[in-house]
Symmetry: C2
Subunit: 427 residues, 2 copies
Amino acid sequence: MIELARESLHVSVWDPVATSMNFLNEVAGRFPDAISLAAGRPYNGFHDPADLPRYLSVFQDHLAGAGLSPQRVSSLLMQYGRTNGVLGELIARLLDNDEHILVPPEAIAVTSGCQEAMVIALRGLCARPGDVVLAVEPCYVGLTGAARLLGIDVVPVPEGAGGVDAAVVAATARAVRAEGRQPKALYVVPNFSNPSGVSLPVATRHLLLDVAEAEDLLVLEDDPYGLFGLTDEPRPSLKALDRRSRVIYLGSFAKSCFPGARVGFLVADQRVVDHSGRQTLLADELSAIKSMLTVNTSPVAQAVIGGLLVESGCSLRAANQAKIGFYRQNLRTLLTALADAFPEGSGPDVRWTVPSGGFFVVLEVPVAADEKLLELSAERYGVLWTPMSFFYTDGGTNALRLSCSAVEPGRIGEGVTRLARLLADHG
Amino acid sequence: MIELARESLHVSVWDPVATSMNFLNEVAGRFPDAISLAAGRPYNGFHDPADLPRYLSVFQDHLAGAGLSPQRVSSLLMQYGRTNGVLGELIARLLDNDEHILVPPEAIAVTSGCQEAMVIALRGLCARPGDVVLAVEPCYVGLTGAARLLGIDVVPVPEGAGGVDAAVVAATARAVRAEGRQPKALYVVPNFSNPSGVSLPVATRHLLLDVAEAEDLLVLEDDPYGLFGLTDEPRPSLKALDRRSRVIYLGSFAKSCFPGARVGFLVADQRVVDHSGRQTLLADELSAIKSMLTVNTSPVAQAVIGGLLVESGCSLRAANQAKIGFYRQNLRTLLTALADAFPEGSGPDVRWTVPSGGFFVVLEVPVAADEKLLELSAERYGVLWTPMSFFYTDGGTNALRLSCSAVEPGRIGEGVTRLARLLADHG
């Protein structure tokens, strides 16, 4: 056995995020019959592999309809391709239809999932020692993990019940500068955040854009859950409100289409000056990073999403009505089950968030919701959840994340009942 | 226009590799009728999108045959999946059949193209400040670009006509240590290297493994061209000769299958100790890095390659006989055309390498083969090639790379004739 490996594997061997997630997966694997209120993935029932060849052929017909020869279609699907991908026009139409975001196709880079979009944006914006990213905390582990991989410090900005406070973002940016470091970007999930479920009021969205301008930050807006509100009230994305080119929009198709394509995108329509003095778009400049990570996103995977977009008329909001209804019902079922299981003033002192949509509810409990309790919960009580400590830079909290996206609707109530038993015995 | 972007985009705006490649693509775009002896991609004639749905269904049948339920097959293709992918068993059989490499499936990580495999390996091995990678020079731009992206220094090891000298590798590693830096790995393409076309004698392969052991290096072996020798003489991969777990094998399907899948892999069967003291494989530890780059490789793209592997009986050597014949013929045609165009002692003083296979020939010319000459070549003479300076850390050389993989066989002679005219006029 070579000791060298341990020596040299600093990043992977001691990565706390990966370690936590591996633990969760490992526990889930050991107790397959446990009800999972931990998994944040979309519901399997919406996925059918029989759709895949149809999506492929719809996209090829779309290309042929646009005048591409069979040779060009073949080359586009099977050769090396354009670094920023081939879905720019369809995604631009999607963003216009569903989000009222108006950007040119050239401002869109198709990525190998939204995770790669985060890596590209972080590497591009935080290119120098001392460049840091601010992140609303609790924070999605993909962002903190990507930053760690690139050696970029993440400075947390605490989130309140009403979301992040723009004044706290500004104060944090100034404090970072006072230390001699440069805050380059702010990462935020404006709708039904993972893990907190919190959404930003529209007024706060405007204030964040003002702070970004005042403090010279770019906002990394990540919105994988925006379609899945409990009501249809409009939730304008920061990018739709962005008049000063301060927002880089990070897009995911994992929930609105399916995760297995591993197709995401970023929108970077900022005008920049390249090495030769030529004006170009930030998305073009970021393509130099993309090309050294994955060359380009699999055109086969892009074609599958492309066919799905064509079939949907470039509106996933319209195409996803069944999913929207399903996730609304699951969230309502979860909230009702919590109210039934933890009536006011009886039993352990438990409080939970009531999000206006999305997949996640946070439960505050009178006990350390740590890996030890999780293992006990899985083994003795048959229910899985996620410790909120996974989502903080400094660890421990008495809170856990409940997800209702992947669980069978009929098992949500029983899952919460089992959780209540755990807390009654150990709360 | 925000100046911030230029300020903050150090990595992308000034990336010399991306700049060079962009220039080459831009020139190629402006002169579409020029004969390209620059493109190293595989020949389009071998790709047919009609194969894609069949590959998908063959792979699904393969999974069903292995006992997976329709629900498991659906989840495997369309959900989030295992970080290191689902092709480990098929790739392990492929490596056994075609390369006599015997590794467990768990030692294989499927990646989003070989480029991501390089990023993962570099990040995993060079995790600390001062950790550097040695690379045989001239070097593939994907390796130097990935290292730059991660802030890892690349220390070149010059290549001779007979390939790299193991003693020079050892001396370079010691010199790097003497400077207080740590050499962690050596990147090498043992067969028909890109760009030089040079291959390593078997004796040198053994010596490199001895040096890796003596100098405590891991060897990053990249072998995208190994199938395409002019003869069938055996060319044992370093991994096949590796008895001391010193080699990480980087695998590509871009030439042996097709580039558009963007599926590659790495083999890391080194036994390591993880944070909890548990023995595991290096591939497992590297999965923590993979999960923060792209989560997992598109299972749709994996399924396409999986179906192709199943159809081939897990031997791409057998399945690729037509490609092998085609590339052999194109390389012979290129070498003959060079001999005809530049007869001994006549015209400009031109010399070229005579590789034993692969896609590339290097031409030494009596003039600076720079971007200015390339533009002139494209515009006035209608032929494209790649300046060898792109592949050196310190720039300029009087040499250019000719590729014969993507060009129509009937145009190779004319391309070389045009090149001869350029050199007669400007040599």
